[in-house]
């Protein structure tokens, strides 16, 4: 993060906007493959588990918390700090709440508890 402040030396090349396409291409490859994996995985989830799947996936989308941490630099301006703080708080609610409520739901999906097979003659 703070070590990247060496950039001015690269400016002439980079400003031409042709020099730094590296991450974009790699990122798009990652995107493509991850979506494919996601579709393959999710298609196999039975309807019984769709609600926990959704809330669990939702918690995973809180990964943006990792990104939010990069916005919380101590030497940033006040506005950036406020925006970073809001992002961290929102993402943490999403992550902590999401995983906990999914766990709570899945805890209820027990196997059959051998119910009602008592011989009760009516």
């Amino acid at each position: 993060m703070t070590t990247a402040l060496h950039a001015p030396a690269l400016l002439p090349l980079a400003l031409a906007d042709g020099g730094g396409a590296g991450f974009l291409i790699v990122g798009l490859w990652v995107l493509l493959l991850a979506i494919f994996v996601g579709v393959e995985l999710i298609t196999k989830v039975p309807p019984t588990l769709h609600t926990p799947l959704m809330s669990g996936a939702n918690a995973i989308s809180g990964i943006t918390l990792v990104g939010a941490l990069y916005c919380a630099g101590s030497d940033y301006s006040l506005i950036v700090k406020i925006l970073g703080f809001v992002a961290i708080t929102m993402a943490t609610v999403n992550v902590v709440g999401g995983f906990m409520v999914t766990d709570r739901m899945l805890g209820m999906f027990g196997p059959a508890k051998k119910p009602a097979k008592k011989q009760e003659k009516s």
């Binding site: 990247a4 990122g27 996936a57 989308s61 809180g62 943006t64 990792v66 506005i79």
Partner: protein, 483 residues
């Protein structure tokens, strides 16, 4: 620094792998809980490693305050919320996730275009980025940033409206002119224009930051306008779609920060939301565009809207019918969630099983307000999941069944779906009328979400039990005990 950079990449790779493994384990009822914990562990790993990496550079006060406050709020909500309110909670968390992505992109744009310690000045968003990093081109950063703002903001405000609708605090299908389709299109075009202006035209920190703020505000209004017109029963589709958006927002934020972990995790969530959206649309035999923009057109319905020959029943009669039944299928719907009747259904089912009756449950994919809503409620009431059957599995079974009890469901068992002239023509429905007796527990003859007549209610073998689902089941249980 190189070594710690490689180390963090290794941790991110491990976390991405664990997310995939966790999702894979979510596909089995027995392994699902473990899968969720693996994903949670992966998150902890990624966040922990990032904190260690950035330790000396971040404002610890902000980070600790944010994480403590967020954890406390999240934990309290997760523990306290009743299972019947799960759709609202998922919508809320979803919105917060999308909102966080929006704020990250906003913070990055503000940081890159603000005043710098070295005195360098950025004229455009892209230039500001290039002063800091050279991993991508400036215009690529710009596209990723404005997309994050747009998707994140739409997810945030759209989810909050969905939350309000599900909790019953937002009613109606527009706020003044907000929600009118033509206006939505205009707002979207305006937002795209602002994104272009902020990204490529605006020069100087102040102008860029003002344009960014404008993009956020307009995109928030767009999110409201897109979700407000959508009816309650189409919520399974909307929640799935917003779930997908929150993933895509994280994904585009991954491009903003050049972080592969965000891209992987975001894509997984985006894909999951899209798959669920498709399943929900198929279950209603409607296209996504139709759900989002059109709504159901009840005017194609022909014939008399009045009901004739409806047979009302009572708890006493239902108890007698059930006393003689060898097989019973329950068909739960949103009314079950509203009445919180899941425990009473389970109680009645247990009594019937004790009498040697076979009990099963038929779950329509769009029953309730989110995918799998009914399954969660019945699981809460300790109904074994082996007794829950999907539409395809159980539709052939109704003809061999003595009694079907429809609890607070309507359109998912409407025979009109088999008629060409129906508003819901072609929607897969549960053929409950094939059973010897179909009992419908419903408060009145009022129409379901489709706003159309349900001929099931006037069939010869249908008994209507006009009551709140919970009260009806309680009375029936009492009567059955007395028999």
């Amino acid at each position: 620094m190189l070594s710690s950079e490689s180390l963090i990449q290794a941790v991110y790779m491990a976390a991405a792998l664990l997310f995939i493994l966790g999702l894979k384990r979510l596909s089995g009822v027995r392994s699902a809980r473990g899968g969720n914990r693996i994903a949670a562990f992966a998150m902890l790993l990624a966040v922990g490693a990032t904190l260690v990496l950035l330790w000396g550079d971040i404002g610890l006060g902000i980070v600790i305050a944010g994480i403590v406050a967020g954890s406390a709020i999240g934990a309290v909500l997760a523990k306290r919320v009743p299972m019947t309110a799960m759709p609202e909670l998922v919508a809320l968390f979803n919105g917060l996730g999308g909102g966080a992505s929006m704020f990250v992109a906003w913070a990055e744009v503000t940081r890159f275009t603000g005043s710098r310690p070295d005195g360098a000045v950025a004229r455009t968003m892209g230039e500001g980025y290039l002063l800091e990093s050279d991993l991508m081109g400036g215009s690529e950063f710009t596209v990723a940033a404005v997309l994050s703002l747009l998707i994140g903001a739409v997810t945030l405000s759209g989810s909050l409206i969905a939350y309000g609708k599900l909790a019953g605090s937002v009613r109606g299908n527009r706020f003044g002119p907000i929600g009118v389709r033509a206006l939505n299109v205009a707002i979207l075009l305006g937002c795209l224009a602002l994104m272009w202006y902020g990204g490529y035209v605006a020069t100087g920190g102040a102008a860029i930051q003002l344009a960014t703020l404008a993009v956020v505000v307009v995109a928030l209004i767009l999110g409201v306008g897109l979700v407000v017109p959508i009816g309650g029963a189409d919520m399974p589709v909307v929640i799935s779609l917003l779930n997908s958006y929150s993933g895509l927002a994280a994904c585009s934020t991954g491009f903003v920060l050049q972080n592969n972990l965000l891209i992987v995790a975001g894509s997984l969530v985006g894909a999951s939301g899209l798959v669920l959206t498709r399943i929900m649309c198929k279950a209603m035999n409607r296209s996504l565009a139709n759900v989002l923009f059109a709504g159901i057109d009840a005017s194609v319905e022909e014939g008399d809207k009045e009901y004739k020959g409806v047979k009302a029943t009572s708890a006493g009669e239902l108890a007698m019918v059930l006393d003689a039944a060898q097989s019973v299928i329950f068909v739960p719907g949103y009314g079950l969630a509203v009445a919180q009747a899941q425990h009473k259904v389970q109680e009645l089912a247990t009594m019937l099983e004790a009498r040697g009756c076979e009990v099963r449950y038929a779950i329509h994919p769009v029953a309730g307000r989110m995918p799998g809503h009914m399954n969660v409620l019945l699981a809460e009431a300790n109904v074994p999941y082996e007794q829950l059957f999907e539409l395809d599995q159980i539709n052939g079974e109704f003809k061999n069944t003595d009694v079907v009890i429809v609890v607070g469901a309507n359109d998912v068992c409407n025979p009109s779906a088999y008629e060409e002239k129906s508003a819901i023509a072609g929607m897969p429905v549960l053929d409950v009328w094939d059973a010897r007796t179909a009992v419908v527990i419903k408060r009145s003859l009022s129409a379901g979400y489709a706003g159309i007549k349900n001929r099931l209610f006037e069939m010869d073998n249908t008994l209507m039990f006009f009551s709140d689902a919970k009260a009806a089941l309680e009375e029936t249980i009492a009567e059955l005990k007395d028999l």
